[in-house]
């Protein structure tokens, strides 16, 4: 067995190459998911890179990423499979024509029925199955990364329906029986906690909580995602965002917003933060007018502090 620590470091490095900077904790989750073949339930505030994690994993392992966005009213016809009704109808048409040949020389109803039974029945078969996201990931030849995004938005019926898939990597289609995964996919479920996820689901998953990154990690993320930002400005803007998160806001800025802001500053050819610049671009970070108004009075102090800290 290889040393787990080394494996984990390798994962972390691989992620870094594809531009996803993460800490050891996250890399450990991927390592466990791979080795235990368990799905990961990723929770955390919006915009900390939960979805990105799945994308990075797909890229790192060189597997196809299959994404299923959950929403209210999502059902199995949209998530798992549907019959190709049109083709099935055509099939019966063709069958009708061929039926004459088949029945030729049959004596009585009983023999005709027997012949019909012997006839290869493909009406309900995989050929007429239109695979949706979940089935696609089970059918993937060399495994896949399955992202079930925002599971908390789906109905609880759907959550219950997922249980079989998550624990056994198989799915039951009533007409066909059980379909097993060709090779176990790596499953990510993400949740923003708009509602509590059921215990049964939680029990089957590894649970990874991604919090907002600390200043160090966030600086690294900005370096990786927006390399054009100079070091001085980078420290300043990260410091500023970190101090914003301390305040009582309706919606605190997430990592994705920090990245957006860094890009904005680049666009404006900013070299360092000043109060006026921050005020003009604050709407990139804060998405509620109330928040912007509340922060406005402290803007000067926050900016000076961030600039001073970056020295």
């Amino acid at each position: 067995m290889t040393e787990p620590r080394a494996e984990i470091a390798k994962i972390q490095e691989g992620f870094a190459q594809s531009g996803y900077i993460c800490n050891e904790h996250i890399a450990t989750a991927i390592f466990l998911a791979q080795n235990l073949e368990k799905p990961i339930l990723v929770e955390g505030p919006p915009g900390v890179g939960k979805t990105e994690l799945a994308k990075a994993t797909a890229e790192f392992l060189d597997l196809p990423l299959i994404r299923l966005q959950c929403y209210e009213g999502l059902d199995e016809a949209k998530a798992l499979y549907e019959w190709k009704y049109g083709k099935q109808l055509l099939y019966t048409q063709v069958l009708k024509e061929k039926l004459g040949d088949l029945m030729e020389g049959a004596n009585g109803l009983k023999e005709s029925m027997d012949r019909l039974h012997d006839f290869d029945d493909t009406f309900f078969s995989e050929e007429f199955l239109e695979p949706r996201a979940l089935l696609k990931s089970l059918w993937a030849e060399h495994g896949s990364v399955l992202l079930i995004d925002e599971i908390d938005k789906s109905d609880d019926e759907f959550e219950a329906f997922l249980l079989e898939l998550l624990s056994e990597y198989q799915i039951t289609v009533p007409e066909l029986g059980t379909i097993k995964a060709k090779s176990s996919p790596i499953v990510f479920l993400t949740s923003n906690n708009t509602r509590e996820i059921g215990d049964a689901l939680k029990r089957r998953c590894l649970h990874l909580y991604i919090p907002f990154p600390d200043a160090d990690l966030e600086t690294k993320i900005i370096t990786a995602r927006v390399p054009e930002v100079e070091e001085g400005l980078r420290k300043q803007l990260v410091g500023f965002v970190q101090s914003l998160r301390e305040l009582e806001l309706k919606k605190v800025p997430a990592v994705s917003e920090t990245i957006d802001w860094a890009r904005t500053l680049i666009l404006l050819h900013a070299r360092e933060l000043d109060t006026e610049l921050v005020r003009n671009t604050l709407n990139v970070l804060l998405k509620f007018q109330d928040d912007i108004d509340n922060v406005d009075s402290e803007l000067n102090a926050l900016t000076t502090a961030a600039v001073a800290a970056a020295e």
């Binding site: 620590r5 466990l32 649970h207």
Partner: protein, 500 residues
């Protein structure tokens, strides 16, 4: 699964972390996979398998640090630092099987380079352990002779790591993890000492004493000092075990009692605990009822869905879908009596009301004694302690006047009550012989979906003295006694469940 892990799971459960059996099996697989040699990796991994909410993660971190704490190990580590590096390789195999983490943790810094010895200590465990735990030293004298010699030699060698390892092994032997009461500390300390060869040590000390040579006496003196120090170590160890496995047992018991006794009998000092209990209850109610229910409206055809659903029947409208409406959680208007007669309850009822505003999206809260005032905004802005204090000082203290208060309510909020509103009245209906204005309550009843009266007094006290339940209760859909947390939980969960 190893003994250590199952002990750890038990310690976690004592900290209110819910760990199911399948999760502890997973923990076993994880431990097998990552081994016990890397603390951080082990911690990260186990936390993902065992702790599945924010609070649980928090409790997990504390518990992990406490459970896998080795202070003595830390102390000796500095001294043996260089050698430990060489040794870590040879002890790897031992750890990989995840047999026991105490050994695993201490072994890498085994300064004397004797990993075999650490192993043998744990090998001894099961064989002599059976008799050892019976506290029957005579029967195992022979078997333990080796260990006896060890303790004296071990103490003298000053090898803290080895000592710690043996201590943990002896702890397992005598079942220190089953300690329940703090009065058992002495007992377990002695048992562990005995399992580690206290008798032998004492014999050695006596022997040296009797030899009456100056060196012998000096050695006896030294050993005695070491023995006493060591006893303190063992005591520390036992106390840590006690804390680990029973940390929350007392609290859990108190919570259980608190949720059953009458609120008026709750001690002031228990209020903090009560608060957390109310909050917990509210949280449980949210998670049970956070799902939006749907209800089909018969009679209105959902054309789009019907066509979609019937493609498989060749477009024949065979399986018909009706339009559905989503059922939202109920609108609640809560009116809370905070007057002198229910002073005991008032704080608690407000506490509950406050938690309710966190559970339900649409709650309007009112408080009154002789005049009514709305406290919804107060609750939204302030933290629970301040909100309750302010509500009490603004509206509380006066003598009750139900009539006047209902009049106030009529002018303030009657228009807001519709067929989806549940009105909750918390009070004892003692109106100081004033007219309770049951007619207004009747008006409320006509408009509202439900009126529920929660009375802290037992039914036998209703209608005695100035209690006006007789006049008021006919205008309620339900009037029940609600004097303990359990009552309250029952009523509220019913409100939530039958929401329409």
């Amino acid at each position: 699964m190893s003994q250590v892990l199952s002990n750890f799971v038990r310690a976690l459960r004592a900290q209110d972390v819910r760990v199911s059996i399948s999760e502890s099996v997973d923990a076993g697989r994880v431990a097998e996979l990552v081994g016990f040699s890397d603390r951080q990796v082990l911690k990260d991994s186990l936390s993902q398998v065992l702790a599945k909410t924010d609070e649980e993660k928090f409790a997990f971190n504390d518990c992990f640090d406490q459970f896998f704490a080795f202070e003595q190990f830390e102390r000796s580590k500095a001294a043996n630092d260089q050698e430990s590096a060489e040794n870590s390789q040879s002890t790897e195999d031992e750890n990989a099987d995840g047999q026991d983490s105490e050994e695993g943790e201490s072994a890498p810094s085994d300064g004397n380079g004797q990993p075999g010895e650490a192993g043998s200590a744990s090998d001894d465990g099961p064989s002599s352990g059976g008799t050892g735990s019976n506290g029957d030293p005579s029967g195992e004298q022979g078997a333990e002779a080796a260990a006896d010699r060890d303790l004296a030699a071990l103490l003298e060698s000053g090898d803290a790591v080895e000592l710690q390892g043996q201590l943990a092994a002896a702890g397992r032997e005598v079942g220190a993890d089953r300690i329940r009461l703090f009065t058992q500390r002495g007992l377990f300390t002695r048992r562990i000492m005995e399992a580690m060869g206290l008798d032998g040590l004492n014999a050695t000390i006596d022997g040296e004493q009797r030899s009456s040579t100056p060196e012998g006496e000096a050695r006896a003196e030294r050993l005695r000092g070491m023995r006493d120090d060591f006893r303190l170590d063992v005591r520390d160890y036992v106390e840590r075990q006690l804390e680990l496995y029973t940390a929350n047992a007392g609290r859990q018991l108190r919570e259980e009692v608190l949720s059953k006794i009458k609120i008026s009998n709750v001690d002031r000092r228990d209020f903090k605990l009560m608060q957390s209990l109310v909050r917990k209850m509210a949280k449980r109610l949210i998670s049970l009822n956070s799902r939006r229910k749907k209800k089909s409206r018969r009679g209105q055809l959902d054309v789009r869905r019907t066509i979609r659903q019937n493609i498989e029947f060749d477009g024949l409208m065979f399986d018909i879908a009706w339009k559905r409406t989503k059922v939202d959680r109920p609108k609640v208007v809560a009116i809370c009596d905070v007057s002198g007669s229910v002073a005991q309850y008032a704080t608690f009822l407000l506490m509950f009301l406050y938690s309710l505003t966190e559970v339900l999206p649409k709650v309007r809260a009112f408080a009154f004694s002789n005049q009514m005032g709305e406290v919804t905004d107060l609750f939204a802005e302030e933290k629970i302690e301040n909100a309750i204090k302010k509500a009490l000082s603004l509206h509380g203290g006066g003598s009750t006047d139900y009539g006047r208060s209902f009049e106030d309510f009529e002018s303030m909020a009657l228009d807001d009550i519709d067929h989806r509103t549940t009105v909750l009245v918390l009070g004892d209906a003692r109106s100081n012989f004033g007219d309770p204005r049951a007619d207004i309550l009747d008006k409320i009843h006509d408009r509202a979906r439900r009126v529920i009266w929660l009375n802290p007094e037992g039914k036998s006290l209703w209608n005695t003295g100035d209690s006006e339940m007789r006049k008021l209760s006919p205008h309620c859909d339900k009037a029940v006694t609600c004097s303990s947390l359990n009552d309250l939980e029952r009523v509220v969960s019913e409100i939530l469940r039958t929401a329409v």
